[in-house]
Homo-oligomer: 144 residues x 2
DNA sequence: CGCCTTTTCTGGAATGAGTCAAGTTAATGA
DNA sequence: TCATTAACTTGACTCATTCCAGAAAAGGCG
């Protein structure tokens, strides 16, 4: 678990100003991977007291733009954020409860970037989402 | 381009009632792949006259559930629908203009379904979205 | 062919994530 | 410390999607 000064270094490294809301958001996302915006707001307020939701939205956008956070939004879910960036990993999403887990890329290093026919697009990223049923929901479904 | 009676057969095959809005929606999605809900409503109204947006939403959900349509919603975009189902293809999305194109699966037949570590999830589908820049936007960016 | 049940469609109101805008506050760098 | 500029607050607002209750139509059956 990184400390506040680690986060401060991260922010400075991205030439972003160091403010309490930003550190709180970074910390919240680090300790709650795949959390949605609302939960993040909750965690941040628990640490800092009153913080406007607007500030959290702004911070999330700034940090996502700077590459410190990654935004994911699987179908039917609101936006979620995670702190693992730059390691090209993917996600499994449970169809029934929405749980999300990380999955390292199956084939090796940044592999899935090959489309059979790219229609002239300049492709810079391949995003993979695996859909299925998490262990809990699988068990629950069997016993019913 | 399938005809109205083709769509009727599709609907009956899925044991869904055959109604004008449903045929119009099917037809609209077939002729406008990757259209968002609003455009679909527009096309349907052009063919049928007044149709409530609610009916279109209901129809889209029913058809998606029956497997006649597929819903896709890339980040930052509203829901879009397409009629190509059951052939495990993926999409390229342009980061700047949002254009979407189809991409057949890179490695062969339902290939990407292997995650390195599935965390106990029972995975039934792998969804791949390639991000990049479409030919138009690539050209526009160079000339600026 | 016409009735009955069930599903679908209409119209309008409601929900909720996310955005906009204007003004205030605070971090940074000289 | 002071000026500059980015970040935060407040509050209203947008817009896709959903909910609700009543009207209409589809399909099955006599």
């Amino acid at each position: 678990m990184p400390t506040a000064s680690d986060f401060e270094r991260l922010l400075r490294g991205a030439s972003l100003r160091v403010t309490a809301p930003r550190i709180a958001v970074l910390s919240a996302v680090h300790s709650h991977p795949h959390a949605d915006t609302d939960s993040i707001i909750g965690v941040v307020r628990q640490n800092l007291g009153a913080v406007s939701h607007q500030a959290v939205y702004d911070v999330l956008r700034a940090l996502t733009g700077a590459g410190l956070l990654r935004k994911i939004e699987p179908q039917g879910s609101v936006a979620r954020y995670e702190a693992r960036v730059g390691d090209n990993h993917h996600h499994v999403v449970c169809r029934s409860c929405g749980a999300i887990a990380d999955v390292d890329c199956a084939v090796g290093h940044a592999p899935c970037l090959d489309a059979s026919d790219d229609h002239g697009f300049a492709i810079d990223e391949a995003e993979v989402i695996y859909w299925g049923s998490c262990p809990e929901c699988t068990t629950a479904a069997k016993s019913s």
